[in-house]
Symmetry: C3
Subunit: 516 residues, 3 copies
């Protein structure tokens, strides 16, 4: 091999070899075919970044296109760097008490060549780093439109270094070294290509982020009623769905880490589930739901089927995949409405229904639809273990990501100022020098009103003054309102009330209150 | 193999294997290389869905972007489901009297593993289902802007289950099982990767759809004069051309179903023809045609060369490919003008010139440019057989798709209402609950005027009243006009004339007739 | 092989083979794996055309989207045709005195099958033609927004036939036939995948084009101050970055021309450098530069790291790749400001900082960061040779592309008329019949003012008249101003002064001069 390498170098570039130098013996050959397949799949999974970017960009408001695009690029970079430097070693390194991996060879690409599996260690890294990137990018859509770029970048780095690798270690930590303890894998938890490890985890980080950053301005009115938000370009989102779908051939197909007969069935199942899910989401929305969200339902429906089949595509038959897909579409549509209309979470791209509900459903489908002989445990025990895996994932991820976002929020702030949000400024297009710097003046400009306890809504202070006195006073006394200056900072209540009385007078002078 | 499978399952997921387990004997190895190639090509053909979506979205009016995107996703899903459930078995199953295949193993993925060819049956299915999707999606562009989503979905399903598989059975039905009778193949019809089977067939379905659904509002004025229509984003369409071009490497390169030396020449020919065709279309338009359609001509020109080389890329030399491409560009430009300016068909994305004319030309090029020793028959006999294949395809497709669309039209309607069309409502964005429900009132709002007998044009009733009395009366007496209410329903002629007289009076009162 | 081929043909299409026919012996097998890998990489490099198109389209003004898209398609076609017909033979044919290759077998695909390397000759051609296309398309962005489509096409053809192949012959001319003299390769110049051969060369052609075509209208005011230009869609550009990044897996990974262990490290290095570069460009801009260009810096930063690692990805460790990336991001940001703000070149998409500075830096990194045992020469000698290679590339390319663009400019004109530029007419959308025809009247409408000697700026003649008399006279006496009619033609100075005096009077009458 050394001789080969020296020869390579000896011939200027591009390095070339004569045919007689590239004859491997048969065993190295098959090594290569598996490597080529997994590498191709890594490329496809990487291409999913383009799919996510496109999907999300099309679904947000025009002024937030740039911001969500920038976040997609940023989390791709953060995932690559964080996972390369530390995350990969934490996920696949030698297990410390089953909690976290640790292997200096795997940090910062120290020595990725060692591999107990049938493909080179670097190919495995490339495939895994693309997976990590997928988990991260789910968050970008969920928090889009109001989250600052720098806090988002910090959150992405922490997710790539801590959250994803630690849970990943529990479920998949024994792949690279089978002697490792990966406790979820050891109790029989099955998540073939990551319905839970990638999708539910990503969606859970996103959900915590959504709650902590609050809804976009103009998502709800002050009574919690949903206001219409115009997607910037639905058609662009459909391009995203197709690109993601293509990427899924590799996402699931590469997870065997070998190019055997299983691959074909896995890809067939993936496609059948995606198509069935898109179909059922369309039909269900068309005939039983509000058609104004038909495109969101179709697009998200397709993806939910793909997410759901991810855990179980290697253990179910194509006809089961069809049923899983048909169910996934309906689950998507119902959970979409649940998140937005009942729970009043502002998830601009529908990431929670797709990756959260789809991921949970798919993980359970392993037990529900898997061929019995391919399961690790008897069916009902398997179902229990699958449920445990999902719950552990959600509990762990909620805990750590809550601490993470809360800390970022306290130290730095998660959210851009209202001016920046309304102007689409979080992504540099119009971002001023003093992007996150506090402004000196504390003149209140917005009232932030809690909505059903689940989020809040900002309204212009003039609209607040226009409310009836009793409603206003009720909000203030129940601490359901906070006052915010132009920079997004809270103004303390005494100062607010003082300003409010002045504002009200001037308001009264200029335009008589109609609602009072 | 069973041992391998069990081993796979025994080790949690992602399943992994040690190098010594993945050593195949040499014959299985080559099996794998061919499989990997065809699978890669299936991925590329699948990616063409993104290309079609992007191409078509850019060429339609802004308000129809969402609609055409949704149709692209819908036909991808319909193709996948329809072909999986029934179409594949009808196309490649055991031949019933040479008319249609029938094989329960091939329905709903019953047992796709059996294969007499050098690649696994599932890989062949994945490649073929991607082909079916291509044929279907050609229709979406042709009918875009005025066709309802649900009738379109139904049409796609029928095309995927009946039209494409039946004609496909005649031309390619003996591929999976060489003992099958595929009568066109048996008389020597050569269509390597589907210039006729995929492209001409898709274009023919589109053409019948175009005629039955009629032109978009505002495409022609009431004298049949072409009115300008602003493409939403030409640049986006060019992205589509590039994506389609990339996909074509797989479309043609994978059709050998093996990774041998032929593949390289095929891909070279494909690229040369595409480039030559784009070049000649550009030059021809630039110097000899109206430059206002330069982008349409460039984009469509490139694709026409790719369509044309599809049938013959395995039997012609690169220099012949160059000539075929140069001719294809000119054929595109001339047929583009023929369709739009002479025949007055409203084909918003130029699908007929590209896939119809390009497909026919390419199929004939097999005989015209193919190396004699690679043809099935002597050159002129071959040409005759090629022409027969094309004619059979068109005749069969016209017949069945006419019955199909006519039936959908009678039972359900093909077209959205004028309000929905003008507002881009067929895709859910603004789609009301009563999308296809008939409205109670029958007030006439539009006059639908037959244009040169080939389609019709809707104008606002006020503009109709502004016509000179003799012209109006001529239209009514010759039954060249129908009156339409806001919901798109025809109003019977007596009621129309009654309303018309009222309208005319009120119109006269408000604004004196200038043209009368 | 002949037997195989005849068999292929004998079985209608798609040609298929039984498993027993496709069993190759082991050596042919490895041949195939390498071929498959390089072919896959060619596809990925070809996909970079979509990336460039998308990147550039998003960064230009809305009215220039179509134009830059059309140029991207045009140079892809020109590259394919020019390289196929002549360029490939000039680059890889038998060396004539070390200056240019010449081999009739390689012209027009005469006989591409012969190959002394481990992959089929046609696969090598496909990979190389995709590289040529990359070099060409760099120019489209640099010159976008004001260059005519036809002169651009002519320039692309010449670049594909002469400039790229000749320099390429010097650096890479011995790849296909090791007995060839490629003088730069022979003195030890190392440019693995083309930081210099592809990127610096492309950027240099672009730079010469930028200087000769001049800045876009409205880029600078008459004092050379930079005016804001609104990118059409930053988010679309980010899609381009991701697509390019995906393509780079093939661009660098395929340049080994074999699928060995080097491939994995190369791809790892590529990704690490790209991520590090995007990260450092973001951080550097965020904290030390003007954030209004944050997206340009992020996007261009990522690409600069990818360009830089291109020359050296096969000789550096992953940790060196990290450092190269971190430096590349900062180099990008500084050179971005240098080009735009100091040198006042109007490079609408930042092609020069990315491909020029990134390419030079990467070529030097071979010597600076390469593992000593993998270099051709001792480190400092290597550095010298690398610098020589870069300088030769720039000097040669400047010379030939200057002659090329100057000739096109004299014979035909490079630039569209101001009306066409402002209306986005260079791409056919609104292009009139008399696109490049000279207009009869010579009424001055614009004053073209030299900006710091490096370019010029067009302002409306009315604004020129509004300048103070002394400033105007200074410009005229120092020959810093020329007068231009509506068609973009220069009006001679006597006629201009005559018209100017009339204009000034009428201007004085209509609106009193405020600034005079």
């Amino acid at each position: 091999m050394l001789r080969l390498k020296l020869l390579c170098i000896g011939l200027t570039m591009p390095i070339f070899l004569w045919a007689n130098d590239t004859i491997y013996d048969t065993s190295e050959q098959s090594f290569n075919i598996d490597s080529l397949w997994v590498l191709l799949c890594a490329i496809l999974v990487f291409l999913m970044q383009a799919g996510f970017k496109t999907l999300e960009t099309g679904l947000v408001k025009s002024e937030h296109r740039t911001g969500v695009g920038a976040k997609n690029l940023m989390d791709m970079v953060a995932g690559m760097l964080g996972f390369f430097l530390l995350g990969y070693g934490f996920m696949f390194g030698d297990s410390l008490y089953g909690i976290i991996g640790f292997n200096t060879d795997l940090f910062a690409g120290g020595d990725l060549t060692k591999s107990g599996i049938g493909i080179p260690g670097i190919v495995f890294f490339l495939f895994q780093v693309a997976f990590a990137g997928t988990a991260l990018t789910i968050v970008s859509g969920a928090m889009s439109g109001r989250t600052g770029l720098l806090p988002y970048l910090i959150g992405s780095l922490i997710t790539a270094i801590i959250i994803y690798p630690v849970f990943g270690h529990w479920a998949w930590g024994n792949i690279l070294d089978p002697t490792n303890h990966a406790w979820l894998a050891e109790i029989g938890f099955m998540d073939f290509a990551g319905s839970t490890v990638v999708h539910t985890l990503g969606a859970t980080v996103g959900l915590v982020g959504i709650i902590l950053v609050g809804p976009r301005l103009g998502r709800f009115d002050m009574n919690g009623k949903i206001l219409p938000i115009k997607a910037s370009d639905y058609s662009y989102s459909i391009l995203g769905v197709i690109l993601l779908w293509v990427g899924w051939w590799g996402f699931n197909g590469g997870s065997t880490l070998t190019f055997g007969n299983d691959v074909y069935t896995i890809i067939l199942n993936t496609n059948v589930a995606g198509a069935a899910s898109c179909f059922s989401a369309f039909i269900f929305c068309y005939f039983f739901q509000d058609r104004t969200e038909l495109i969101e339902k179709m697009a998200g429906g397709a993806l939910t089927g793909l997410v759901a089949i991810t855990a179980c595509c290697n253990v179910v038959s194509p006809s089961s995949a069809l049923i899983i897909g048909l169910l996934a579409g309906i689950i998507h549509n119902l959970s979409f409405d649940l998140i937005l209309k009942v729970l009043k979470f502002d998830d601009p791209v529908g990431a929670i229904p797709v990756h959260g509900f789809g991921g949970i459903f798919g993980t359970l489908c392993v037990a529900l639809f898997g061929k019995e002989e391919l399961l690790m445990l008897p069916r009902w025990e398997q179902l229990l273990v699958q449920a445990i895996g999902v719950e552990v994932c959600i509990a762990f991820t909620v805990l750590v990501s809550f601490i993470m976002f809360k800390t970022i929020k306290s130290l730095y702030g998660l959210r851009v100022s209202p001016e920046q949000e309304l102007g689409g400024m979080m992504a540099g297009r119009k971002m001023p020098k003093d992007f996150y710097e506090k402004e000196g003046e504390k003149k209140i400009q917005y009232a932030s009103i809690k909505v059903s306890g689940k989020g809040y809504n900002l309204i212009n202070i003039k609209n607040f003054i226009d409310l009836s006195k009793s409603y206003r006073d009720g909000l203030i006394q129940n601490e359901r309102v906070a006052f915010i200056d132009a920079g997004g900072e809270k103004v303390n209540i005494e100062e607010s009330l003082r300003q409010l009385s002045v504002l009200k007078e001037s308001s009264l002078k200029n335009e008589p209150l109609m609602h009072a």
